[in-house]
């Protein structure tokens, strides 16, 4: 459906592409520069990260210019790589959109990091700066790659550099364990992607994306390719059942790195999926869409439910990332469903929802992860049971985190609502699909999505309420200090973007339009008043974030003024009402476990729970509840045992005696001779 566009000849000028490569190289150079004085926090953090933020900004501006102006794909062959196998790069609207996400969010994270890193936290700052910038640059290369070879090199560099960042505090056992799990899952995923590319060339052994686009695979081969891509990119995105590494690895890293992994690395998974299914495979079968929709929705619900019962703030956010990537993948599935049924406009609507949700998730999830970083620096705590009341001590962080919380909870007029609105609208139109059986199933999907979105709000109220509101649960929290102004700038940048996309959704739609036009041959309607989005037809549904925002401000203003004018403003501070019980302490507030109780109660079958309840007369009462993922026991434990058994079985061969090994070689040679002769 997009062959004409995909095979469009390269533009004569390749300036934007060269500039994009230059920015990526500049980011890489910043990492290397830090090695000059690896222990100087002033050079590495305060200077190089700040310059890195500017480089990211440059990348974002470049991508923005490309999306709005030229839009014709540009290709280059780099004088790098193996002999006869040079690296191919390409800048098209899809990669420009994701480069924009990378630049926009990377600028915020790098600027925050410039104020965040302190001396004496794990790895030497210079080394960490190297890993950080290599990570950033490799994500840029993933989006620019135009052959499977460069793609895999960049993809693996991304996995390895982020692994080193995860194990920054490698002296702690559980962090090493999390890092190992991450490395394992990342490589299993990469293996799937490798096999996927191995099928994609269609027997021509040409590994450039152009050749893959031209190769028309047989239906069975194409379907296998799709399954491998879903497994590979799904493992990176944390889709169930490949999600187990995510809640371990993301929280283990320092907060800016968690923000990069959750906000940006997960976006590369979405990028890869779109590239392979929509661009290279050209989305041919509706069954793929249905499969992706099902996997995405299940992951979204699963992530939301597990986020609700977490007691560690970073783990809670990590599970929420699973939920959001599930939403993105379900939107992609829906787009595939529409695209394969020859409904380009609706496919464009769902694809737009997926793209904008990816952008939104990158923004607000980084904002929240960075806010947890500030909280951890100020309090040395990350357990929800030991936080509370920080809004009084850290007003800046609390205010900006509130913005992120409201955005991720999908409340108007912020950005999270825009993408959810678009996605719900595209679900509404499924009744027009030609398959009656899908028409029955998809409303159920919409119901699951609605439940997930509502659960996300629950989770975020829990997160924000327990960390920032209430009374401090520990006396040490009274000395908490606010973030410094460099950190505030990073947080503010991301928060501003959340607000801007929310009240001017048309801007985001305009950026997604050339992407969907290239991939599915249509884009959502952009005409109408400023800030107005009416994706299909104005009489069916329209949303205007700006009018809503102005309306809300006006109503608040008028109410406030009227109350000020008509009522007197007398106010007295007093102690909170203690219900007649004077010996209350902050520890008696509802805890994270308590707030998760309804979820444990309603979604009990999802969890493996171990509970220890104290007896009434217990002098030292202990309450404990341990919640585990059932999939560990159902899926991973048997798999681990099978691998162990296999290793043991092979181990029988290893006797340690040289003569036996020689005998093996001899037998093998004999066997081969028999075959050959």
């Amino acid at each position: 459906m997009n062959t004409a566009n995909a095979l469009a000849t390269a533009a004569t000028t390749t300036l934007p592409l060269r500039m994009a490569l230059t920015w990526v190289l500049a980011i890489l150079a910043l990492g290397v520069a830090g090695l000059a004085r690896p222990n100087s926090i002033r050079l590495v953090a305060r200077t190089l990260f700040a310059v890195g933020a500017l480089a990211c900004l440059g990348l974002a501006v470049l991508a923005l210019g490309f999306l709005l102006r030229s839009q014709t794909p540009e290709v280059l062959i780099l004088p790098l790589g193996l002999p006869d196998l040079p690296f191919h790069v390409r800048l098209d609207t899809l990669s420009a959109f994701f480069l924009l996400v990378l630049g926009l969010v990377g600028a915020g994270i790098s600027s925050f990091s410039a104020g965040y890193f302190r001396a004496g936290e794990g790895t030497a700052p210079g080394l960490m700066g190297l890993h950080y910038h290599v990570f950033l640059a490799s994500m840029g290369l993933v989006m620019l790659a135009n052959d499977a070879y460069l793609f895999m090199v960049a993809w693996e560099t991304m996995a390895l550099s982020s692994f080193f960042l995860v194990v920054t505090q490698h002296r702690r056992g559980e962090i090493r364990k999390a890092g190992f799990l991450y490395l394992l899952m990342a490589h299993l995923g990469a293996l799937c992607i490798l096999f996927c590319f191995g099928l994609l060339h269609g027997g021509h052994w040409q590994f450039t994306f152009d050749a893959m686009r031209a190769a028309r695979l047989a239906p069975a081969a194409a379907s296998w390719t799709f399954v491998l891509a879903l497994a590979g990119f799904g493992a990176k995105a944390g889709l169930v059942p490949f999600h187990v590494w995510l809640p371990e690895a993301h929280p283990a890293a320092p907060s800016p790195v968690s923000a990069m992994m959750s906000g940006l690395m997960l976006s590369t998974a979405a990028y890869g999926m779109v590239r392979v299914t929509f661009d290279l495979l050209q989305g041919r079968f509706w069954q793929w869409g249905l499969a992706m929709l099902a996997v995405g929705l299940f992951s979204a619900l699963y992530g939301a439910i597990f986020a609700g019962v977490q007691t560690d703030m970073k783990r809670l956010l990590a599970y929420s990332s699973i939920e959001n990537m599930g939403i993105v993948f379900s939107a992609l599935g829906l787009a595939l469903l529409f695209a394969s049924s020859n409904m380009p406009l609706l496919a464009a609507l769902a694809l737009t929802a997926a793209l904008i949700h990816t952008l939104n998730h990158a923004l607000f999830k980084s904002l929240l992860f960075l806010a947890t970083g500030s909280v951890m620096h100020a309090t040395r705590q990350r357990s929800l049971g030991k936080l509370g009341g920080l809004i009084g001590r850290m007003p800046w962080v609390a205010g900006l985190a509130l913005l992120g919380t409201l955005a991720i909870a999908g409340l108007p007029p912020l950005n999270g609502f825009v993408s959810e609105w678009l996605l719900l609208q595209s679900f509404l139109f499924t009744a027009s699909l030609p398959h009656a059986f899908i028409n029955m199933l998809v409303p159920l999907g919409a119901a699951v999505l609605a439940l997930t979105l509502a659960l996300a709000a629950y989770v975020m109220v829990k997160f924000y309420g327990i960390v920032f509101l209430g009374q401090p649960r520990e006396s040490s929290l009274l000395e908490a200090h606010d973030a410094n102004w460099v950190e505030r700038a990073g947080l503010g940048w991301l928060g501003l973007a959340c607000l801007l996309i929310g009240i001017m959704p048309q801007l985001a739609l305009r950026l997604a339009a050339p992407v969907t036009a290239g991939l599915v041959g249509a884009s959502v309607s952009l005409d109408g008043a400023f800030g107005w989005i009416a994706p299909v037809a104005a009489q069916q549904a329209a949303y205007n974030g700006l009018v809503l925002f102005v309306g809300i401000l006006a109503i608040f203003g008028v109410t406030f003024l009227l109350v000020r004018l008509l009522a007197h403003g007398r106010l007295r501070r007093a102690a909170a009402w203690d219900c007649g019980y004077r010996w209350q302490t902050p520890r008696m507030q509802d805890s994270a476990e308590g707030f998760g109780q309804p979820i444990r109660h309603i979604f009990g079958p999802f969890f493996r729970m171990r509970r220890h309840l104290p007896a009434p007369e217990d002098p030292a009462p202990r309450y404990e509840v341990v919640i585990e993922d059932r999939l560990w026991r159902l899926f991973y434990a048997p798999l681990g045992r099978a691998v162990d058994w296999l290793a043991d079985a092979v181990g029988v061969l290893q006797s340690g005696r040289l003569s036996i090994y020689l005998l093996f070689s001899f037998a093998t040679l004999l066997l081969l001779l028999v075959f050959v002769l």
Partner: protein, 318 residues
């Protein structure tokens, strides 16, 4: 957006502000009659509001700006909702840009802010209330969304004015899915507005409270705004019900003339009187559920709404 349209919009908002406390008073009266008590006057909620606005605010020591801003947020979102829902007429400029899904978003905003404010002081009851409110919310919101989905499938729009106008043109009450939707909607309405059987608006026992527990720390003008907002919320929900299931009498954009508005106002008042009676009957006949049973009640509403969708699709396919 003409000045006349803006004026009509403003008129409907002011009407909602005026009628919402009266509707709450009407419900209190009906309940008193059904329970053989002598009823308070219809204007009792107004007197409450006047008393509360005159009082001095007592604020907890550790209350943050979020706590003080929340009553305004609640009031503002409910006024916004009143501006979107066509209770009197459909020619509303605001309703063209904020559709039913955005309305659910606005309700969610109010719920999230109220829950956060309840957690702000850090007393046990406030947080307990917040937790329960969010639990009811995440079960009720999808059910409401499914009700709107069904309306979309029937009439092809999520914008309220179009829903109402198409409804009045093709009164397809015979579609069985509407019945399922209507039952689900009434259940959501009861849960979301802190009515029996989910919550007891007149309770004095903190442990069983949901909505009142969150308002425990509010006083004076803050409490007045919050109470006004909750009466507006009930009024809004009832008006959504009218727009979806009893749209007769709502003036459409094609109708002109002086007689239109009085007629639609009379229709609205009649429907409100009726709705109050029905609500009180349901409330008087049912007992309050334990909190643990609330999920079952709301899951039933959700399933009924989904069933309505499926019934519609099955009949459409056949």
């Amino acid at each position: 957006m003409t000045p006349a349209a803006l004026l009509r919009q403003l008129a409907q908002i002011i009407l909602a502000l005026a009628l919402a406390p009266l509707f709450a008073g009407w419900i209190a009266q009906c309940r008193a009659w059904l329970q053989n008590r002598s009823a308070p006057p219809l204007t009792q909620p107004y007197r409450m509001l006047r008393k509360l606005f005159a009082k001095e605010v007592v604020l907890a020591d550790n209350a943050s700006p979020l706590f003080r801003a929340t009553p305004y947020v609640l009031f503002g979102t409910m006024v916004l909702a009143a501006a979107i829902i066509p209770s009197l007429l459909t020619d509303l400029p605001f309703a063209r840009v904020v559709d039913a899904i955005a309305l659910i978003g606005a309700f969610a905003t109010a719920r999230v802010f109220l829950s956060l404010a309840a957690m702000d002081i850090g007393t046990a009851f406030g947080t307990l209330g917040a937790r329960r409110e969010m639990m009811i919310g995440f079960l009720a919101e999808p059910a409401l969304l499914m009700v709107f989905f069904n309306a979309f499938l029937l009439f092809g729009s999520t914008a309220f004015p179009n829903l109402v106008e198409r409804y009045t043109r093709h009164p397809s009450l015979l579609d069985p899915s509407v019945l399922f939707s209507a039952i689900a909607f009434v259940m959501v309405l009861l849960a979301e507005n802190a009515r029996i059987p989910i919550d007891n608006p007149a309770t004095h026992l903190e442990l069983t409270m949901v909505h009142e527990a969150m308002l425990l720390e509010y006083s004076a003008r803050h409490l007045a705004l919050a109470e006004w907002a909750s009466s507006l919320k009930l009024y809004n929900y009832v008006c959504i019900g009218f727009a979806l299931f009893l749209p007769w009498g709502i003036a459409s954009s094609t109708q002109h003339g002086l007689w239109v508005l009085p007629v639609s106002l009379a229709a609205l008042v009649c429907k409100l009187l009726l709705a109050g009676g029905v609500l009180v009957t349901i409330e008087t006949l049912s007992a309050k559920l334990r909190v643990f049973r609330a999920p079952e009640f709301l899951a039933m509403a959700f399933l009924l709404a989904v069933l309505g969708l499926l019934v519609h699709l099955l009949l459409g396919a056949a």
